[in-house]
Subunit: 466 residues, 2 copies
């Protein structure tokens, strides 16, 4: 693939589209953060950054780029982990975080309409002020909604409420040729032709650019109670999860964590975790409208935990205690990152009754390859976040051992009928692993779809498929 290098004429034309020179950045005005994301090793500067304010701009830029064979990369706040928002071919970077208005809340249809750059934390706060609830809850609250949609972000509440896909009713999307389409709408059902809306969700800005979204809301549950459950070891902790699911008392979230990760988080936050007696924990949350309703739900779960060997069940029913538990959980990624020199991640998802087996396998790999591996994750939905840490390894040993450990993990996930990514996406970094895992027929189907919608391969090229 080779793309046109932007010249003065191109920049002039883009300036005409944007018509605000503070929103067209070139050369030294392009900040370093535009050249990478939060984790993926790849770094590349775009030739121009356009800070987008409206759909018309995206449409005109795409038309121009399509005609002139210029690569375009859409970006939210750059919190991705797999390089999807890195402009690996230079070209135009669209900063969509500046297109961030909340357009409308509709209480008769229980929807909120937002522009793509609205931050998850701002959306959550806004709808809660209307006594409504946007359930998806990815850890990174400063991500944009457009980014969440583009990766089909999951989060902790997927056990009970599902993922971002389940809350997207309608999208406004700019296609690679610059056409603007509306997919879906406020409607609750839709069987009108192919599911273009669903195809766009999770396509990481390679099939179209999401500019607006109509999101489904629920009534806000009035109360949340968390349980912190210490176990003598991880096996017993995670082994309890299928029994909880089988009991048909479905919590909102079930997370697992181990002592080593908690210690890193305590050091990182400078705050003690509320319990110190155990090596492994489950944290569960339950929501509902009354304390009684929730208690009825969690009592049975607490009993199951104790039967399965839990050392205790600590109930946290005040906002402060909930914060103490969940802030530790929220700091894990940053804490692990701070504890080493470099790391890479694996975001597999496996059937939830396979999690314990998978985590044990990562412990075997720690020994096999003499490399430190830390994990935490969503025990309730089978999605693990596993970090392979470089520490003091030299470049060659790091790359060799990291790659071997990753290969083994993805092979094991495949064997367990799991998937390469539960919520972080494929981006630039995981294409080969995905191809190996889903098989050639599915990969070629994906590639055919990419070329059908973007025949010149100008929209975020080299991501998801290549």
């Amino acid at each position: 693939m080779s793309y046109k290098v932007l010249d003065t004429n191109d920049i002039n034309f883009l300036n005409k589209i944007i018509n605000d020179d503070k929103r067209v950045l070139i050369d030294g005005d392009i900040r370093e953060e535009y050249s990478h994301d939060e984790l993926c090793g790849i770094q590349k500067y775009p030739e121009v950054v356009l800070k987008i304010k409206e759909t018309r701009e995206v449409s005109e830029v795409m038309k121009y780029a399509n005609e002139n064979n210029i690569s375009v990369t859409p970006r939210g706040t750059g919190t991705g982990l797999v390089g999807a928002a890195v402009p690996i071919h230079g070209g135009i970077l669209l900063d969509l975080s500046t297109m961030n208005k909340i357009v409308e809340i509709d209480e008769e249809n229980l929807t909120v309409t937002v522009e793509t750059g609205v931050l998850l934390m701002d959306l959550t706060k806004y709808v809660e002020e209307h006594d409504l609830f946007y359930p998806p809850d990815p850890g990174e609250k400063t991500a944009t909604i457009g980014g969440n949609i583009s990766t089909n972000a999951g989060g902790m509440r997927a056990v009970k409420y599902g993922v971002t896909r389940d809350y997207v009713r309608g999208l406004e999307v700019v296609l690679p040729n610059g056409e603007v389409v509306e997919l879906g709408g406020k409607v609750v059902k839709n069987s009108t032709g192919y599911a273009l809306k669903d195809l766009m969700i999770g396509s990481e800005g390679t099939l179209g650019i999401v500019t607006k979204a109509i999101l489904k809301l629920l009534p806000l549950p009035k109360k949340t109670i968390s349980l912190l459950v210490p176990f003598p070891n991880l096996d017993k902790a995670i082994g309890t999860v299928p029994k909880i699911i089988k009991s048909k008392n479905i919590p909102t979230a079930i997370e697992f964590m181990q002592r080593a990760v908690i210690t890193a988080s305590e050091e990182f936050l400078g705050k003690k975790f509320p319990d110190s007696k155990a090596d492994a924990y489950l944290i569960l949350s339950f929501d509902g409208n009354t304390r009684d309703e929730i208690i009825k739900n969690f009592e049975n779960v607490a009993e199951i935990c104790l039967e399965e060997g839990a050392l205790d069940v600590l109930v946290s029913d005040t906002a402060e205690r909930n914060v103490a538990i969940w802030s530790a959980r929220g700091a894990f990624l940053e804490a692990i990152k701070a504890s080493t020199t470099q790391m890479d991640e694996v975001d597999v998802v496996v059937p939830r009754n396979k999690i314990a087996e998978f985590v044990n396998y990562t412990h075997e790999l720690e020994e096999k390859y003499e490399i430190r591996i830390r994990s935490f994750g969503h025990a309730g939905d089978g999605n693990l976040h596993i970090y392979i840490l470089r520490d003091e390894l030299d470049q060659e040993a790091w790359e060799d051992r990291m790659r071997k450990a990753m290969n083994d993990m993805y092979a094991m996930a495949k064997e367990m009928k799991g998937q390469v990514s539960g919520e972080h996406g494929i981006g630039y970094d995981k294409i080969d692993f995905m191809r190996e895992s889903i098989g050639e027929a599915s990969y070629q189907a994906m590639k055919a779809i990419k070329l059908a919608l973007d025949p010149k391969n100008i929209l975020n090229p080299g991501k998801v498929v290549k």
Copy 2:
């Protein structure tokens, strides 16, 4: 488009694949029902019917058809309404209703794995025996699960539980080239490349043939209570729905019905409806685990109904009374069909606060075009089922008036930001209406995807796009 007409060599080859001559039907052995569906006017016999037992057969047939340019139409039990399962180019008809084993129930992951031909009513019964719940509830219980997936069938419980798409975790699909792919799995989250699984759902057997499905289950709610609420007129009945939604007490189902349709149903069933005092009704159902929990939920809704002018609120909390109400609702389609000589249908979905306006508009059209129109539907999710009735009109008047009324209705749905089909699909009959409604850019994107996955256009050609 022209396809190869099957000759003796082709039939011999297909016989080799199936290896059971009772499952290869030609000529006089092809029953009349294979030439049409439940409603769509189009009729065409296939050249051969293959009664499928396993995925291998589908794969080998598709490979052969793809190499030899033979059109293939997949079919479940033929309960569709828009011609999607009619073999309009002859060729091979795959009867998938004979591939109908329930493969596995997994209580630790809350999934059931089924072959494509399992009937909805058999699935529902099977999982309920395990105290589990498959929420999608389309009216036609003798449809196959494969058919439900191919149209993204909705049903009455969409208000609270969503549609078929929301319960499909994984699919086994045979692509037009004969390759067998597994999409998704038992996993709860998945961000691994393009959403091929979601693209297949609702594609009406034009992008791939669903052969197996892994479906998500929920714990079975222990109790259901229905409310039958008579209103002095339809406006007041449907006008109440947005107020119920806004009150944040979300029922499982909210249906509306009018006296004329109830009368037709009474005549059809030979059974009196439980109430005779009103012209318009809402039926609501609520589910939960205890009577108290449900009552708390519906009391508020009952109050809203009375405030909005309901004549009464009749609580139905026994299985017998529930049957009396819901069997009338279940008979509407058949009852209306029995009341006329011929009919066609409109399955639009609009934002739920637009339903009353839309139904009133159909009443205007009755007068404007002097044609009888009957409707009922899902007040809670905005999906209307509207039937235009021929009665004693001659062919020319019928086609003219029906077409004009339809055009007006689809135009109004578009104006309201609705969609052409809420749950019945596009099939053969609604392509032009869809194209007009979604616009040329979306239509061309759909067409490009079809050709990307089926370059020879041999799989169910002339459906969804043409």
